[in-house]
């Protein structure tokens, strides 16, 4: 049995909240720690075949939102100057703009572009890295039924779906159990 076991609970299905569990888990596993991610509630979308490719960033109700334009966009002539001007007027879009249709898609596109500019891996890439590092990816049985997701809706290479008790027992039977909730 593993002496150390790290379990990360991924319960959110937005783009910004999908990255931390995947980054932490792949890194922990490459440090030689037995690592698992328990995907529950909206976190299941991170391992959903289709939904994982289009996770979105919500500008509405996200007070951390004022966000700058991607560096590559700012370097583009004309567009970059316009972006600079917009940033000078509004330091990030005001919260109310989040209700405008298309705003969520726009902010998501900006986020994806910024991640690419900074050499940050995207969700499907991070999932692959987790698999390579032998992170156990555990879908939550109850929420799969709740959302009506079948095993075939989810990506390959997952552990069998588990309930809360199975998961907690799996973590706590290690000598040094660690749990991170995201």
């Amino acid at each position: 049995m593993a002496s150390e076991r790290l379990a990360i609970i991924a319960s959110k299905g937005t783009l910004d909240m999908a990255l931390p569990p995947l980054i932490l888990a792949s890194t922990a596993a490459s440090l030689g720690i037995e690592t698992a991610i328990f995907f529950t509630f909206y976190g299941l979308n991170i391992i959903h075949k289709e939904k994982m490719k289009k996770l979105k960033l919500a500008p509405l109700g996200n007070p951390a939102m004022p966000m700058s334009f991607p560096p590559s966009l700012k370097k583009t002539p004309v567009v970059g100057q316009l972006a600079g001007l917009m940033e000078a007027i509004f330091p990030g879009p005001p919260q109310i703009m989040g209700v405008i249709p298309g705003m969520t898609d726009f902010m998501t596109a900006m986020m994806n572009k910024t991640m690419k500019d900074h050499g940050i891996a995207d969700v499907p890439q991070l999932i692959e890295l987790c698999k390579e590092a032998e992170v156990k990816l555990i879908p939550c049985q109850m929420t799969m039924e709740f959302f009506g997701y079948k095993q075939e809706d989810l990506i390959d290479g997952l552990e069998p779906p588990a309930g809360a008790a199975t998961f907690i027992q799996y973590v706590l039977e290690a000598e040094k159990p660690m749990i991170i909730f995201v």
């Binding site: 490459s30 440090l31 030689g32 891996a121 890295l129």
Partner: protein, 79 residues
Amino acid sequence: MASVTADKTLDTSGLNCPLPVLKTKKALEELQPGQVLEVISTDPGSKADIPAFCQRTGHELLETVEEGGKYIFYIRKKG
């Protein structure tokens, strides 16, 4: 200039956390114990992350060189 010679070089320029550490781990797997891996990174986070990775996994960090915005690490695979 580094005083160690590397058996293999891994260039992670432009990549950010967690990729430099993950790629370092993979590259080390392909080496024989005692061989030296040179890792080039532009991620400022790797300055602390690569030493932490070595401390944790038992590989020996021989030398760290910082030049022109690049961090170069020399890691000897543990025996």
